[in-house]
Amino acid sequence: MPVLLIAVPLGLAFAVPLFALFWKPAAKYIPPVALAFNLIVSLLLLPKVLENPVIVSIGGLRPPFGINLVAGPVGVLFSAIIALVGLLVSVYALDYIHPVRYSHRIDTKLSNWVGLSNGVKEGPTEKYHMLYLLLLTGATGVVLTGDIFNLFVFFEVLCISSYALVAYLREKSGIESAVKYLIQGAVGSSLLLIGVGLLYGLFGTLNMADIAQNIKSVSPISVFVPMVLIVTGLGVEAAIFPLNAWLPDAHSSAPSSISAILSGIAIEVGLYAVVRVIFTIFGASSIFLFLALLGILTLLVGEMCAFSQNNIKRMLAYSSIGQIGLILFALAIATSYGVTGGLFQLVSHTLSKALLFLAAGYMIYQTGSLQISALEGMGKKMPLTCLAFTIGAFSLVGLPPFIGFPSKFLIVRAALATKETYFSVLIGLALLGTVIEGAYFFRVVQVLYFKTGKTNPEGKDAPIVVLIPMFIFVALIVVVGVYPKLVTDVLNSAASELLNRLDYIRSVLG
């Protein structure tokens, strides 16, 4: 079963151009179909893997030989989220991405208004849908694989398709940020590959469980170098503080549907890989405090930069950096509560940030500007879109009826439960970051509802195809926020999979 999660979207991704040969619109209907399939398979697998992880050995070679997939609670939880968000965003893209013809002159004039171009210039959109599916296949592969080189390969599938998608609109800012992203990403992946090579040299195996089992048999210094290389390489994609220079550019110049996926899925998958490597493979409990510090630093830098932005998509992108910092901090607490809270925050950030980018994308399309001030009075013209945006913003800040509240609450409780002074100080700083976050999100909401628009005669609500995915996000945010028990079981067993590396090793190697 877990093989299908990767094989079906991968096969359909390459089938997109073929189907489009016969019937043009087929291209845009394939991603929703593939992702709906993935969502169903993940949800069917979920109850099974809560009891026992499903290990698939490809080619019939038992691990540690051959390549294996490990569908534990963490992997299936992530693949379900990827499929869910991917499905909703691809439904949104049915209307958002479509071939529009306009002359090159208008294009350059509008080139500063990223995302205004409703989709793509002349030319087919098959490439968009193909790359989109490939990106999500890469993400699913990263979370399901049990082989560290295979993780690198899927990571590259994810990265290369996201470089291409950032540049998809082909205007100035998109190309520039894609080049920056590509250079930093390529250096990061090279470091990752060197780390993988060193590990292979040390242990003669690529199976993550097998490496984890033997990690204590060599001196800590010789393990330290590959760990630093791998964490740095993955940290570029996860946007951990000193390595995140590419993120605000790339996330703000991509088409809005892609920004939603990059912010909601790509960086989370990067963070998953970092956490999997540190928790499971290296079991490096001594660097958790360092990671917590890095997390808080990332949080504060991200929130402060977001506060000073006038461009709404850049603001959301910096806010993603801040949220990643908070998640990293929560995971680095490394208690059962902490990891559960971190994973919960990850789910809540994925849902809320995807919703925010989708809503903002449509508002940008209507107003033709990325400035926050251009959104004045939109609350009356596009009530439903603005309602969705507001709910996403409130959820991200952590107001009670929404999903952001239980997740942040769990993190605070976990940090205080450690009874360590430094965690209390750090969680204080995290709450300061949340206050800053509240300040800039409330500013946008105020602009939406309480300022009268001057110059925007245009503006009507989004079409129904766009509203449906947004309101499914809203429904999920509210339902899980009111009734967090729905997900806590899954999150608890995912957290215990990450914390108990011995169980992981035993379940893979048998």
Binding site: Y163, I175, E176, V179
Partner: protein, 119 residues
């Protein structure tokens, strides 16, 4: 000398990696940066190959007589490098096509002059 003999591949590989990183960090021209990426990739691939290499080893083909397993090189790194080369080619091709687009927009490839996006 024995040190050089046994570690020559590692020295070469890390030399290439450092040269590649130096080019990426220091050079202003995008094409040169992409060349740097290529050199970095080559260095990494050479490193992976040398992890599995043994002196005077041959290909691990069991059907040929007269070769025992002690003189075979490790085939896994070679499979890895094959994959890594393909990935490297894809990244370089994408980078070059982006460079063409960038030149069309800005009329220059000097990365210090292309600074529309900032904090």
């Amino acid at each position: 000398m024995s040190f050089l003999n046994s570690y020559i591949y590692y020295i070469g590989a890390f030399g290439l990696i450092l040269i590649g990183l130096y080019i990426i960090l220091v050079k202003h021209n995008l094409i040169k940066v992409i060349v740097g990426l290529g050199i970095l990739d080559t260095g990494v691939n050479l490193f992976l190959i040398s992890v599995g290499y043994i002196t005077k080893g041959t290909a691990p083909i069991f059907s040929r007589s007269g070769i025992d397993s002690e003189h075979m090189v490790d085939p896994v790194p070679q499979a890895l490098v094959l994959t890594a080369i393909v990935i490297g080619v894809a990244v370089l091709a994408l980078a070059l096509s982006l460079a063409i687009r960038l030149y069309q927009h800005y009329g220059t490839l000097n990365l210090r002059k292309i600074r529309e996006q900032k904090w």
